[in-house]
């Protein structure tokens, strides 16, 4: 029990291996049967939000997504949007899973299921462990593109009590608010956030409805 070899092999290797088997390998095998969706398949169906962004910012779109409203552009925007979501650490203040407790299904929408996370945009998963802002896995359609543009420009313009940072670097000509337009990253992050939950058909309630029902801000 006090020899190096025992400590190294039993505690260091065997116990660690056992924990990986129980805590990681078993869950992996349990979820193995769920089919994996590649990004190519995901981006076959170009989202209406992406198409609308192309109409809203035709010049930016031509510059950064010259292929137009196509699966290839959509794929590029999703990938770039997710990268931006990671680079800005959005996932440190927004979670991406709905729990079956604490009335979350009423507030956000259907409880998350493992199958929703078996795709190319989940390397690694973005579950998150803190909610300063609301969960985002059912964000699709909760807000309009216009709302997101204004919100990324300055969240407090839209939600006065918000503690979310500004993201002027999602805009070209950020120094000149009259002529500021979304840039590549701006289009991408809105496309990505609007994609989250787009595979779920219906919501019991949206954030917007709920706040209105409560006489909220």
């Amino acid at each position: 029990m006090e020899r190096f070899s025992t400590v190294f092999l039993v505690a260091g290797v065997v116990f660690f291996g056992f924990s990986v088997w129980v805590m990681a390998w078993l869950p992996i095998t349990s979820l193995q049967g769920i089919p994996h969706t590649s990004l190519d398949v995901i981006s076959e169906k170009v989202s209406p939000e992406f198409a609308q962004l192309a109409e809203m910012f035709p010049d930016s779109f031509k510059k950064y997504y010259p292929a137009g409203v196509t699966p290839a552009s959509f794929e590029k925007a999703l990938r770039r949007g997710r990268d931006t979501y990671v680079a800005e650490a959005c996932w440190h203040c927004h979670s991406q899973f709905i729990r079956p407790v604490s009335n979350e299904a009423i507030r956000f929408g259907p409880v998350s299921q493992a199958g929703e996370y078996q795709n190319d945009l989940e390397f690694p998963h973005l579950f998150g462990t803190r909610r300063v802002g609301p969960d985002l896995i059912r964000e699709n359609g909760v807000h309009t593109n216009d709302w997101h543009v204004a919100h990324f420009w300055n969240p407090q313009d839209v939600v006065p009590t918000s503690v979310m940072p500004r993201y002027p670097w999602f805009f070209d000509n950020a120094n000149d608010p009259e002529n500021a337009t979304l840039n590549e990253r701006g289009i991408a992050i809105i496309t990505y956030v609007q994609w989250l939950g787009s595979w779920v058909k219906s919501y019991p309630a949206t954030l917007y409805n709920l706040d209105a029902a409560n006489g909220g801000v």
Binding site: Y117, H125, W169, N214, V217
Partner: protein, 475 residues
């Protein structure tokens, strides 16, 4: 311990000093980041339009630099001091220590710059850039230095360096500290590889979440905790000059930690789409860990019986035992809030943020600071420039953390219940604002304390005349 003629000194004191100084420097970087981030919560962030100082990025620098900048540097310094003394043999070879030192500092700088320029990895506590794109090892796609690979290389070098004296000593039964160190090096390397590469490239979604949960937890449980306890088992008996109370409890503490701690992983994602059996298992073993923790804490407090005056007279011992009280608190808290019932309310809230501050700063940070307070005069050959500043440092840190912990815990409960009540989301922000203000103030006290301490270290190293020395009476 065989007698042996040494061609070089047993301990390279220069490297211990360098690790401590670097650790403190990165601690100040981390705290500055944490302080700035706390201002964002008060809607008064000073650099709202500077991309590389965006609050989200600064937050990652804060947490990463505490783990890899502060704790790891101080741990490496303290182990470079303790392991040769425990084994009677110097580390692998002299210059390697400096190679490790500079490789590690390069990793830290690349991490800070990488995170601030938008190359972070989406692994909690492993935001250290991978350099490669997710799900692709394509060299052409590389956008930053492969820092994660460098970290693995550094861990292997550290293992080679520090296992050598342990293996050379060939002792039939090692001292407790060495059990913890011997297990910690292999655990850390395995944990790091598992957490930083598998979810990023091979295991997506919920199963990947199980792995990152394991990673977050093992980083605390299999790296920081064993190294921290190993150092406590070394320094506490030395300072209070008597052996640890019970060898049996030491054995139970180590082996039970080794078995139960890594089984906690999934408790970071309870009520998630990860299979429920893994969640139940994690909850049960988390509660088991509380039993382990109690044996270790009882052992240390029993050791202190009859030596209570050290708490008053000896600053390092006060740091260590304050840390142990926080350790017991944080683990007890863990056994309660890991239950699925309590999780419903407190998960995703500031409760967890308070918990992690208590663990990383209140326990392991306090131990590291105590070790520096103890060793710095020996390393520099000078008495502390100011004992009084050291006491200010202790009390500002302890009170600041105590206030921050309770403030965030209460804020977490308020947030959790407001969310459950289906109040508009903004209500939880409005309700949190006063608590975030208190958090910023408590944090400021902690930041000021560490700057005072860094100043004190600097003046001591320079050999400045101790301040507040009684004025010599004219003859």
């Amino acid at each position: 311990m065989a007698a042996q003629t040494l061609e070089r000194p047993l301990v390279d004191e220069g490297i211990v000093k360098a690790f401590f100084a670097a650790g403190m420097l990165f601690f100040l970087v981390s705290l500055t980041g944490g302080f700035l981030f706390s201002l964002q919560f008060l809607q008064h962030y000073p650099f709202p339009n500077t991309e590389w100082l965006s609050p989200g990025r600064v937050r990652m620098v804060h947490t990463n630099m505490v783990a890899y900048g502060f704790l790891t540097n101080v741990f490496l310094g303290a182990m470079s001091w303790a392991i040769p003394r425990l084994t009677g043999r110097p580390l692998f070879f002299g210059r390697l220590t400096w190679v490790i030192f500079w490789v590690w500092q390069a990793i830290l700088v690349l991490t800070v710059v990488g995170i601030l320029t938008g190359h972070a990895q989406a692994i909690e506590w492993g935001e250290t850039p991978t350099g490669f794109r997710p799900h692709s090892f394509n060299l052409a796609d590389m956008n930053w230095a492969p820092v994660d690979l460098l970290v693995v290389v550094a861990f292997l070098l550290v293992s080679l360096h520090m296992y050598t004296p342990i293996l050379k000593a060939r002792e039939k039964s090692m001292y407790v500290s060495l059990w913890y160190f011997s297990a910690a090096f292999i655990w850390t390397a395995l944990t790091y590889v598992m957490g930083n590469f598998f979810p990023e490239y091979f295991v997506p979604g919920a199963a990947g979440a199980a792995m990152t949960g394991l990673y977050i937890h093992d980083l605390v449980g299999l790296f920081v905790t064993p190294v921290g306890w190993g150092l406590m088992y070394y320094f506490v008996p030395l300072i209070i000059e008597k052996p640890i109370w019970s060898h049996g409890l030491s054995l139970i503490g180590f082996w039970a930690l080794a078995f139960f701690y890594p089984l906690n992983g999934v408790h970071h994602f309870l009520w998630s789409p990860i299979p429920m059996y893994a969640q139940y298992g994690a909850v049960i073993s988390t509660i088991a860990v509380e039993v382990v923790v109690t044996t270790v804490v009882v052992n240390f407090f029993a050791t202190l019986i009859g030596s209570g005056q050290y708490l008053r007279d000896n600053l390092p011992i006060r740091w260590f035992y304050t840390g142990m009280i926080f350790y017991f608190t944080t683990c007890l808290q863990c056994a309660v809030h890991t239950t699925l019932t309590v999780q419903k309310i407190i998960h995703f809230t500031d409760w967890v943020v308070g918990h992690s501050h208590l663990v990383m700063f209140g326990v392991f940070g306090f131990w590291c600071l105590g070790i520096i307070v103890h060793l710095w005069p020996k390393l520099t050959g000078n008495a502390w420039y100011s004992e009084r500043l050291n006491h200010w440092h202790f009390w500002l840190s302890a009170i600041g953390l105590f206030v921050m912990f309770w403030d965030l815990t209460i804020a977490g409960l308020i947030q959790g219940f407001l969310w459950q009540s289906l109040a508009p989301w903004e209500q939880s922000l409005i309700a949190s604002m006063p608590y975030w203000a208190v958090r910023a103030v408590a944090g400021t006290a902690i930041v000021i304390a560490q700057f005072l301490f860094a100043f004190n270290m600097w003046m001591t190293a320079r050999g400045a005349q101790p301040a507040y020395r009684p004025v010599a009476q004219p003859a």
